[in-house]
């Protein structure tokens, strides 16, 4: 093996930049100190900037699923009905969450990898006024697909329904200006475009949705957003926060601010286009019909087994990509490039992919020039 370290091209957690690792290696302060309270206020303000909201952002010690659950239990009253948009493992998670709490819901099935048709959502909502909530996904990690959140928000806002979007894989990758688009609630995680280890999740609430969490909701305690609202103005969280990850998050948000949010989105777009073009030159197919810039999901060239490819890439090149999940197991591979990735990273991956497809019996070349051309065209 030529690699002396593992490189993550995973759909999250992702590579952590050295600047952030340095912060993680420092002794964190106690959370009930003036210094940390100021840090938490700054981090919250920067997250609101990232989300483009004048509303509130709540910070939870949990994985992204915890924040999804916090949104469900804080917003949805017993007896309410909802529409969930499927189309992947994480779209389906909304339905699983509602099931766990006995909340009746319609599931809008979407072909895996495709974007939901916003007009179909409009029809469903028009047909059934009892569907008060729509639960959707921006970037679907399991398929590499992207949904048009702006169009969805236009439809829900016009009909007075609440839209809750899982942007765990989308944050810092695809724009999602919450207030401008009209998204009531956005849920995020820390280990994707935010470039830090997993353990923090956030819920952001648009200003007009302020009252949405003050209703009866479902039984809840740790995920009761009213508690977070009470503590936030003090620079506190209701339960001990993952202090070291909060410091790391501040560093990540500083990095994003330094590069500039628009340039961060632009870099992700170019990285994604380069990855697709390079892989397609090697005979891979692009799985999603509506591809995300967070994760590139690829069908391997005919005759090459997805599992063998993942294994060889890891064992011979020290590069970690992911296989498919659930019904896509064995059918696709997924390359994550959320966070600090640039063209040299993608070049290194494509070179290794080129070696792997040759070793597995389907030699092909031209990945690098194709990637470079796509990068420059982009």
């Amino acid at each position: 093996m030529t690699a002396t370290r593992m490189r993550l091209f995973t759909p999250g957690p992702v590579e952590i930049p050295p600047r952030i690792l340095r912060v993680l290696g420092q002794a964190p302060p106690h959370h009930r100190t003036e210094g940390f309270r100021e840090t938490l206020k700054r981090v919250t303000a920067k997250l609101a900037w990232l989300h483009g909201t004048a509303g509130e952002v709540f910070l939870l010690g949990a994985s992204g699923t915890g924040a999804m659950e916090a949104a469900v239990v804080s917003l949805v009253p017993p007896g309410a009905r909802a529409l969930t948009i499927a189309g992947g493992k994480f779209g389906e998670r909304w339905a699983s969450l509602l099931n766990a709490y006995g909340i009746a819901h319609d599931v809008l099935e979407v072909e895996w990898g495709a974007g939901v048709d916003p007009q179909e959502v409009a029809r469903r909502l028009d047909r059934d006024p009892s569907l008060r909530f729509v639960f959707a996904t921006q970037s679907e990690t399991s398929t590499g697909g992207l949904h048009d959140v702006e169009a969805l928000a236009g439809i829900t806002r016009a009909r007075g329904r609440r839209l809750v979007v899982d942007a765990i894989t989308g944050v810092g990758v695809h724009p999602l200006p919450q207030d401008r688009w009209g998204v009531d609630v956005v849920v995020c995680g820390s280990q994707k475009g935010l470039m830090i280890p997993p353990g923090i999740a956030t819920v952001s609430l648009a200003p007009w949705a302020k009252d949405a969490i003050e209703g009866p909701g479902l039984p809840r305690f740790y995920f009761d957003l009213r508690r977070y609202r009470k503590s936030a103005p003090l620079g506190e969280t209701p339960f001990t926060p993952p202090v070291s990850l909060v410091l790391a998050l501040e560093e990540a948000l500083t990095m994003i601010g330094e590069e500039g949010l628009e340039r961060v989105y632009e870099r992700h777009r170019r990285v994604a286009l380069a990855t697709r073009a390079g892989a397609q030159a090697l005979g891979f197919g692009l799985f999603p019909s509506s591809p995300s810039h967070a994760v590139t999901a690829l069908t391997p060239p005919a005759g090459i087994e997805a599992g063998a490819l993942v294994k060889r890439l890891r064992e011979e090149h020290g590069m970690v990509i992911a296989g498919g999940q659930d019904r896509l197991k064995g059918r696709i591979v997924r390359v994550g490039h959320m966070g600090a990735y640039d063209l040299p990273d993608i070049d290194a991956l494509l070179l290794a992919l080129e070696e792997c497809v040759a070793a597995l019996g389907r030699p092909a070349t031209g990945a690098l020039p194709a990637a470079r051309a796509a990068w420059e065209r982009a």
Copy 2:
């Protein structure tokens, strides 16, 4: 100020040893890799060893309260009744959790700082057979008090009731051999005796309580322990775990193993006795009648204001201790010494305390010799 760094003597999070900070500063692996699966299995096995259980230990990405909630929602069916033991802010949290889920319960009030009378628990359980669950605290962070978990477990086991113990502040400080004592469920956090940043919490289930989480329970998803049970044999968690903290936890458990569990408990006992003796020589009173070795809660000498003491200690000596919470606000100060603390740490704190009480108008001496004598007597 003579200090160049802040020193935490807080009731958690606590000082993180350099060995653990080094681990936190390294690039963590992806969680769906063979290497990390092996790590998670080792960490789980070491936690079971620490708890003295042949049962299961589940690892959650959450604060300790999240693990308390996981125990409640996974064990308690709708309509059940429970007994909670109060005696402090965290004892009272059990009641708040049950309230949030509409579970009827009796609260056994205990004087703050005192240990619960096990015979009173026995009387309550004998009088009301519908109390199927007892929720208790081992070491109460808010009062510095300790409850006799061994005695409680004897009473609940003899009566076929389930005992759930919050050992968040007790783990790695006071022995709690789960299977030998007969404790059904133990809940822990990472930022106390385990010496790592907050963000991981655990629930350990005694072997005879295996079925306790398979019943209907309350509505739950992220805190559904059945999901953790399913993933654990694969070296996985149902939701993305806080990878970097899991690696840090392994280092902490290795450190505890190297020192020896009995010696770790013994060191905490001597550190606590030295802290008490030194502070008492300066005119402080020991607040709890049943003191814990995790946190020393002290009433300041007459005429000295708790808040002023905390402030001066921080600003002049770079040492962070905590004030009182809730009804103890302004009445006590709390010194945490969970984790890697030794006599030189306590000497430094006592010297600083000595300076503070003098500066605040109640000069006193003799803290160090008193601490040393207590350490040697112990």
